[in-house]
């Protein structure tokens, strides 16, 4: 099908179309805890659960998951394979040039998966550089950028398909550390009950000496500003009422992950 041309100046009528269809397609990336398919075959995760509530309140009763690779989320959104990226995607300036974001629904620090006992004492990216340890991360993960910024050579970073592969790689000693967001890393270690690997304490990644706050939100096509704004309104209400934390707590999120940052600030960084 032919793609509609970029700037729909009126902010798009997607919300109306979704209401009349009664269903919205969410792009998810199979990443625990943000958005994934559970053991029961149903999809769940922090972001989809929020999206269910928000879209429910916006009058769209049904949400339909479209699992894809993390790297395919933005192209998939732009080519209309789904309407919203609901994968806890970090908001950063490059991405802001491709899509528009809701305000973030969480903020998060990074953590490593390391061998049990953390023999190389890896706690932040600088430790990787210092010890020359082998680092891995996921395809298109923001952590790659942080590591490179801290001085790790990009070509030295092993890019793995997902966190489970990362855990295995660490357990087998193929790499010394796998970098991901705190909750992802902690979850996979907990979920698999790994006896050979553990997750490090969360740490704040730095960019050019300043803390770079990782915060994720929902992404929309650039022309769908009206939908994004409506989404933001409901999201803020959830935040204010504390409902948000209640929705995401089962996925390992805590007070520490709540944030009042705006997408605008994060896009400007």
């Amino acid at each position: 099908s032919r793609l509609p041309d970029g700037d729909a100046r009126d902010g798009g009528n997607l919300l109306e179309r979704l209401r009349s269809q009664g269903t919205v397609r969410l792009g998810i990336a199979g990443e625990i805890p943000f958005g994934y398919i559970g053991k029961d075959g149903k999809f769940t995760g922090e972001a989809p659960e929020i999206a269910k509530v928000v879209f429910g309140r916006l009058g769209v009763g049904d949400v339909q998951p479209v699992p894809t690779e993390f790297a395919s989320l933005i192209p998939g959104l732009r080519s209309q394979q789904f309407d919203v990226v609901s994968a806890g995607m970090y908001i950063n300036p490059e991405r802001c040039r491709q899509v528009i974001f809701s305000d973030p629904d969480y903020r998060m620090k990074d953590a490593f998966i390391v061998a049990k006992g953390n023999p190389k004492k890896l706690h932040r990216y600088e430790d990787i550089v210092r010890t020359g340890a082998k680092l891995a991360s996921g395809t298109a993960y923001a952590e790659i950028g942080y590591a490179v910024n801290a001085g790790v050579k990009e070509s030295d970073i092993a890019v793995l398909p997902d966190q489970l592969a990362g855990l295995l790689a660490v357990e087998q000693g193929r790499v010394d550390a796998f970098a991901g967001t705190t909750v992802t890393v902690h979850n996979v270690v907990k979920q698999t009950g790994s006896r050979r690997a553990e997750a490090t304490e969360p740490f704040q990644p730095m960019v050019d000496g300043k803390p770079d706050i990782g915060a994720g939100g929902f992404a929309f096509r650039p022309e769908d500003t009206r939908l994004r704004d409506a989404f933001n309104r409901e999201l803020h209400r959830l935040k204010k009422s504390g409902e948000l934390l209640r929705i995401v707590r089962p996925f390992g999120f805590t007070e520490a992950e709540m944030t009042d940052l705006t997408a605008e600030e994060l896009c400007r960084k």
Binding site: L3, I37, K39, D40, R78, L164
Partner: protein, 247 residues
């Protein structure tokens, strides 16, 4: 592998794989015949263009083509295909190129005397092709096409890379959900094997009917392993599965 994963992903995935195979095969068949006939055309330029197409699509990797259709097409031409159709397109274009070699070979193998007999009966060139040449060439194409079809079935797994929820994609999701790699991939490999087996049997039936339509005896029964790998002579003859040859 939980019942939920079966119900929501693996079973629909099988259906998607079957659809991809069927649509891909139909599209590839159309491409193969169009190109194969073009390559026997009297016009040099038609032959040349068809040969170019075949070299290009046999030369490139199906997976790369799939990524290209999926990522580049929407940006370059502002045309976004549903992933499913992008996949069918990639499979059809690639395997059509291989298939055209089979079509060309089989048409070339029809005895020239048959064309002459058709000329002597004043058939038009189209009637000659339609009524005399193709009915004799098609049965010859079936064994190599069976091999190609199996290759196509296997290639459908590539679509999982562009997020089409086929068997392989379902396996990926299930692995993420349960972490049971051995069990899941084992099941999936067996599933593909069973599909390949069924396809081979189906083509075998077709082959028997086609041979019967030439008034020949049905091919002798062969042991199971032979049957699955389809006729080896055909494989050698068309060099089909050697992708620069065989596929």
């Amino acid at each position: 592998m939980t019942p939920g994963l079966w119900e929501h992903w693996l079973l629909p995935g099988i259906w998607i794989t079957v659809q991809l195979t069927v649509y891909g095969a139909l599209f590839a068949g159309v491409v193969a015949f169009a190109l194969g006939l073009a390559r026997t055309s009297r016009l040099r330029i038609v032959r040349f263009l068809a040969a170019c197409y075949v070299e290009i699509f046999r030369g490139t990797s199906a997976l790369v083509l799939m990524f290209w259709l999926f990522f580049v097409m929407p940006l370059a031409f502002r045309i976004a295909l549903l992933p499913m159709w992008a996949a069918v397109l990639a499979l059809g274009l690639t395997y059509g190129a291989y298939g055209s070699e089979i079509v060309r070979g089989a048409i070339g193998a029809v005895a020239p005397a048959q064309r002459e007999a058709a000329v002597a009966l004043s058939f038009t060139p189209w009637q000659r092709l339609r009524r005399v040449v193709l009915p004799q060439a098609v049965p010859e194409m079936i064994p190599p096409f069976t091999n190609l079809l199996i290759e196509l079935l296997k290639a459908t797994s590539l679509v999982s890379a562009v997020s089409v929820a086929d068997i392989t994609f379902a396996a990926q999701l299930s692995r993420l959900a349960t972490g049971e790699s051995l069990q899941i991939y084992g099941i999936v490999l067996v599933l593909y094997f069973v599909l390949a087996f069924l396809l081979t049997r189906l083509m075998r039936l077709l082959e028997r009917r086609a041979k019967a339509s030439l008034g020949q005896l049905p091919p002798p029964r062969t042991p199971l392993t032979r049957r699955l790998s389809a006729t080896r002579e055909a494989r050698r003859a068309t060099d089909l599965t050697a992708p620069g040859g065989a596929r």
